[in-house]
């Protein structure tokens, strides 16, 4: 039976985030002429993450943290089956993948949040940098600089895992993240309506807009 496992909001979120994360990394490296875009991309990522956190609480079954965040024990058990090349089937995130989601979201949230306070001492300042002390700006800028590589490392592990499933395990994980459906005997998860996601995303954008455009004192 063909079952829809990933709702449209989760898929859109995933691919937009993937593109913006790469874009942020690249523009941050190129530097000056692209820093305005780097900053805007960070705002968009922050809005996406805010939405995803909310969707993880009130969204579709497969998007909910309570469904896919499992204990370390079950993650370890799953890892064993994975290494034995016969992973147990899970509809939605498996226990190991669930932790990947949590780590990626946390690292990206830290990256976007510290970016709001960062200052490169040349021309780029996060919108909230003016509101905290120089020492705080310095610390948060450092975290922004180091955590960047934490994000890169997590992305490498994430992509490597997908390649491992795709290759040796012959399990296509990319397809379902594109079209949303898998072949399974498991009962279909309850999916929340897309309009509800749109409302939540609108609220997330409004929250980020407040944070970066209304809250900071005008220079």
């Amino acid at each position: 039976m063909r079952v829809r496992v990933w709702d449209l909001p989760v898929r859109l979120f995933h691919w937009t985030l993937a593109v913006l994360a790469v874009f942020s990394f690249v523009t941050g490296k190129i530097g000056h002429g692209w820093m305005a875009w780097h900053v805007k991309s960070g705002y968009a990522i922050l809005a996406l993450l805010t939405f995803r956190l909310a969707w993880g609480v009130v969204g579709s079954d497969t998007a909910r943290f309570t469904r896919f965040v499992k204990g370390i024990g079950s993650a370890r058990d799953y890892a064993r089956t994975l290494l034995a090349r016969s992973p147990a089937p899970f509809l939605g995130h498996n226990p190991l993948g669930g932790w990947m989601v949590v780590l990626l979201l946390a690292a990206l949230l830290l990256q976007a949040a510290t970016g709001l306070f960062a200052d490169d001492d040349i021309s780029t300042q996060g919108p909230l940098a003016a509101m905290v002390s120089e020492a705080a700006v310095r610390q948060l800028t450092r975290i922004h600089a180091y955590n960047e590589w934490v994000v890169v490392a997590l992305v490498v592990v994430h992509v490597a895992a997908i390649v491992f499933y795709q290759g040796p395990l012959r399990r296509n994980l990319i397809g379902p993240m594109v079209h949303g459906s898998v072949e399974t005997a498991a009962p279909a998860p309850r999916l929340a309506p897309t309009w509800f996601a749109a409302v939540l995303f609108g609220l997330s954008c409004a929250a980020v807009y407040y944070l970066v455009a209304i809250l900071p004192p005008s220079p």
Partner: protein, 147 residues
Amino acid sequence: MKAFAIAACLIATTALAQERALKPESQVKLRKSAYALMNYNFATLDAMAEGKRPYDKEAAGKAADWVANLSEVPRHFFGEGTDKVGETRARPEIWQKRADFDAKMDTMVSEAKKLPHAARTDLATLKKAVEATGDACGACHDDYRRK
């Protein structure tokens, strides 16, 4: 006139630095002061370049003069061992790869010196010069400044 006065002061200061050995902590203080003032004035130019502040030839020209003149200062205060005193983010690589550091410093100075003319030409020219100078600043920060 003011620019000449500033330049004269700076030349006097740098001449002094060459004449007598400054204490390492004094060197750190002097170069950081120069960077702080460059940063302050460069922010004015950058705000105009990014459209956050209306372009004003006179204000831009003045800020650009400051940046251009100050750009000469830091290099004179990177004596051997000045990465180990006081609060500095200078990395020891500066002295291990001094030629590269100096070359990057040269680029920064030459880009900064294009600012006064660019600032008095038009916004598009200023914008280009601001980007080139910003990149030159960043080149050193990436390699020779602790995070």
